[in-house]
């Protein structure tokens, strides 16, 4: 039985407190890239009761995603944005999700994030990460960005941390491990990095700027 909106919200308030939950309720977060980082971040935010998620990915679910991304085997072939929207609806049906299947380009950045309070960079390729962060900082100099760098391989999870690089830019990861070096991506360690990003996003929504 799916709890009604009031019951669902009361359970969140019981865990988080009314004042903090009110901030989560009204927050708008964009998650760019819905792979090992983004799918886990979006679900963590939806479970916390973040009210509005903007999910963006151009890709479709592939078998190679299932070791670390929050999709089911039966969802292979579906657009990730749509599949994740469905998975979030099953977890928190009261989270408002805008799902967009598109490739983020420098030209699109200027209009894409007008309604979002925080932008989360959760791409896979290093050059795309740099492009997105650079373009968002140029177009929206006051908008917080929570990005990720370095979570490949099986080095210690303790190497992953959150660093505030500048006033509005946070980078989570070990900052050295590169997937291009053939390290592989392991669900558990990617999840640690995703959890850092999701935690920083919740802290920002709550009004805390320190990592």
């Amino acid at each position: 039985m799916i709890p009604d909106r009031e019951t669902f919200h009361a359970a969140l308030v019981a865990r988080h407190g009314a004042e903090r939950q009110a901030k989560f309720d009204s927050a708008h977060v964009a998650v760019c890239g819905l792979g090992g980082l983004g799918s886990n971040i979006a679900i963590a935010l939806a479970r916390a009761g973040v009210g509005h998620l903007h999910l963006i990915d151009f890709d479709h679910v592939e078998p190679s995603n299932l070791n670390r991304q929050q999709y089911a085997a039966a969802q292979v072939g579906l657009a990730k944005a749509e599949a994740l929207r469905n998975n979030i609806a099953a977890i928190n049906p009261y989270c408002e999700v805008i799902a967009e299947t598109l490739r983020i380009t420098p030209e699109r950045v200027t209009s894409l994030f007008d309604s979002d309070d925080i932008v989360c960079e959760a791409f896979d390729r290093a050059d795309q990460k740099a492009m997105l962060v650079s373009c968002v900082m140029e177009a929206f100099p006051q908008k917080p960005i929570v990005a990720a760098s370095g979570m490949a391989g099986l080095a210690s999870a303790n190497d992953i941390s959150t660093v505030r690089v500048s006033k509005h830019l946070y980078v989570c990861g070990d900052r050295v491990a590169d997937a291009a070096d053939g390290l592989g991506l392991y669900g558990a360690r990617v999840l640690v990095c995703a959890a850092h990003q999701a935690t920083m996003i919740l802290r920002l929504i709550d009004g805390t700027e320190e990592p």
Binding site: A122, K129, E138, V165, L169, D178
Partner: protein
């Protein structure tokens, strides 16, 4: 002197593009802030570092 990622550097007079190449950075993977403002990706070759500048370079690793 210039501060790059908190370290003193004598890169005054160089462009962002020439500094990145000299220091071994892949320019496609970096984000560069100069005195707390982003340097747009298309302006690395025309942005010259000057004495007293504060530079932050983030070099992204792949994976996600």
């Amino acid at each position: 002197m210039i501060k790059i990622n908190g370290e003193d550097s004598d890169a005054a007079g160089q462009t962002v593009a020439s500094y990145l190449a000299m220091a071994g950075f892949d320019a496609s993977r970096v984000v560069v802030e100069l005195n707390e403002a982003i340097v747009p990706k298309g302006r690395y070759a025309e942005t010259t570092l000057r004495d007293g500048d504060q530079v932050e370079i983030v070099c992204f690793m792949g994976g996600g």
